[in-house]
């Protein structure tokens, strides 16, 4: 039974990896087409292609064949000087035109962002303030998709749990139950302790599966995946802020006392210059900051490396077609390897984020933490 399950999982991974790599190649091959509007065939710019893929965008580009761009237009929602403007991003014609006094800045400081145009011109008005951009971008749509996916999957599983009480889990339930138990038994229980862990379980589970699902969806190179959601600093920032807020609000007396008056530290580090309290206070903020940066950097780096391997094919292909085909074999081999590695990273980063959040909650709620801590040493 166990063997069969493993084999199924392996074949699932292999098929997925195969699809990912194949479509990555196709997707990227279309990318040089993005530059067609500037007249003639431009040289393939790997750096630009990679950045275009990992940053956010107002449309969901699926592929280009020659001059035809296939992309999903997304709603643009702008708030500027008390005025709300809502329209589809297709009005920009892939960023080539201005609409309602807005345009996507092609160059400069605000490159890729929506800016005000000069009156009647398709030019950026450097003097005007930036509109607040609440658009449903590629990342936002991807976020919505993952949210719906999470809700559908887990609420249906919850139904199964309620209906088939005391029965062995099956299907999706048996795939996800080990993860749920893993978070409970290996993350929440040891980090927070049996008395208080239950309060934090919903957050930890949501956090883990949100990051894990989005990490995996980021590895799928075509719609509805492919958005670099967990590799976006705004997303990781919000996640880290959630952890920070929960930690701060669950901090008990011992936690704050530890910050103000860290035990086991010589007094002259606290009075007259409150060096240690300052360090501790900085620590309170660096913890979520590090959470934010770690997830962002790991996922973005993964995407960059993957795209880099695929780019190699086109860089060499520009030199000579034969060379491109030759390099593609090696590139795809590496990309497969990277995809497998990224799957591991997808899990590890979700795990690390959740584990560290749990540890911070544990620290914030620990009873007379230091007495117990010092007694142990």
């Amino acid at each position: 039974m166990n063997n069969l399950k493993h084999r199924g999982l392996y074949s699932f991974f292999f098929i997925l990896t195969g699809i990912l790599t194949l479509v990555s190649a196709r997707d990227v091959s279309a990318s040089p087409g993005d530059t067609h509007h500037e007249g003639q065939q431009q040289e393939f710019n790997a750096g630009r292609m990679i950045v275009d893929h990992i940053i956010d965008s107002h449309e969901w580009h699926i592929l280009s064949i020659g001059h035809t761009h296939l992309s999903i237009p997304l709603p643009v929602i702008l708030w500027h000087e008390g005025k709300l403007d809502v329209f589809m991003s297709s009005k920009f014609h892939h960023g080539h035109e201005a609409y309602k006094g807005y345009m996507i800045s092609p160059e400069g400081e605000h490159k890729g962002k929506i800016v005000r145009t000069k009156e009647g011109l398709a030019e950026e008005d450097a003097a005007a303030s930036l509109p607040l951009d609440f658009s449903v971008t590629r990342n936002v749509l991807s976020l919505f998709i993952s949210v719906v996916l999470l809700l559908v999957i887990f609420i249906s599983i919850a139904r199964r749990y309620q209906k088939n009480r005391d029965e062995a889990p099956r299907g999706l339930q048996s795939l996800l139950e080990p993860l749920i138990l893993f978070i409970r038994d290996e993350i929440a229980l040891p980090s927070i302790g049996p008395a208080k862990y239950e309060r934090y379980m919903p957050y930890l589970l949501t956090l883990f599966f949100f990051i894990f699902f989005n990490n995996l969806m980021g590895l799928i190179p075509f719609f509805p995946g492919g958005a670099n959601l967990t590799g976006n600093i705004a997303v990781t920032m919000v996640l880290a802020l959630f952890t920070f807020v929960i930690t701060t609000f669950s901090g008990n007396r011992a936690y704050w006392m530890h910050i103000v008056n860290a035990p086991g530290v010589p007094w002259w580090l606290k009075i007259p210059v409150p060096l240690m309290p300052l360090v501790e206070l900085i620590g309170v903020f660096t913890k979520p900051f590090v959470l934010m940066v770690r997830l962002f950097a790991n996922i973005t780096a993964g995407h960059i490396i993957m795209l880099g391997f695929i780019s190699l094919i086109f860089i060499f292909g520009n030199i000579s077609a034969g060379l491109g085909y030759g390099v593609s074999v090696i590139s795809i081999a590496f990309a497969i390897f990277m995809t497998l590695l990224e799957m591991l990273v997808a899990f590890i980063q979700a795990f690390v984020f959740t584990l560290l959040s749990a540890l911070y909650f544990g620290m914030a709620t620990e009873d007379h933490g230091h007495a117990a801590h010092e007694a142990k040493h």
Partner: protein, 164 residues
Amino acid sequence: MELVSPGIGLIFWMTLSFGLVLFLLRKFAWKPIMKALHEREANIDAAIHAADKAREEMEALKFSNEQLLREAKEERDALLRDARKVREAMLEDAKSRAKEEAERILESARAGIEFEKMAAMTDLQNQLAQLSIEIAEKILREELSDKHRQEAFISRLMKDIKIN
């Protein structure tokens, strides 16, 4: 540097969506799932405990059964032994009683015989005395037919009395 500058739009949507998904999953997924997992674990624990207890009970039962059997066997043996003893005792008793009875019967028979003998003897003596008296009467009648002899006899009797 768009890569490291968080956009307001995504922050807004992310906070909203994540908050919503956290709230909904907490209410409709995690609580029922955690509860069901807890219950299942509790049930499994209870089942294992019950099985352990049942096994222990079975063992205890088996042990007590064996003991019961052993005790029953012992009791049977004891009963048999007792019965044998009782039988022997009864036999012995019966034998001795029979012997006693026989002796008693013999004794009484003997006593009866003695009594009969004595009775017969007495009867014989009486008859003998009767006969003797009759003979003596006849003799006396014969002897004392004449006066002379009567006087001689009386004087002899008188002499005897005097001596006494």
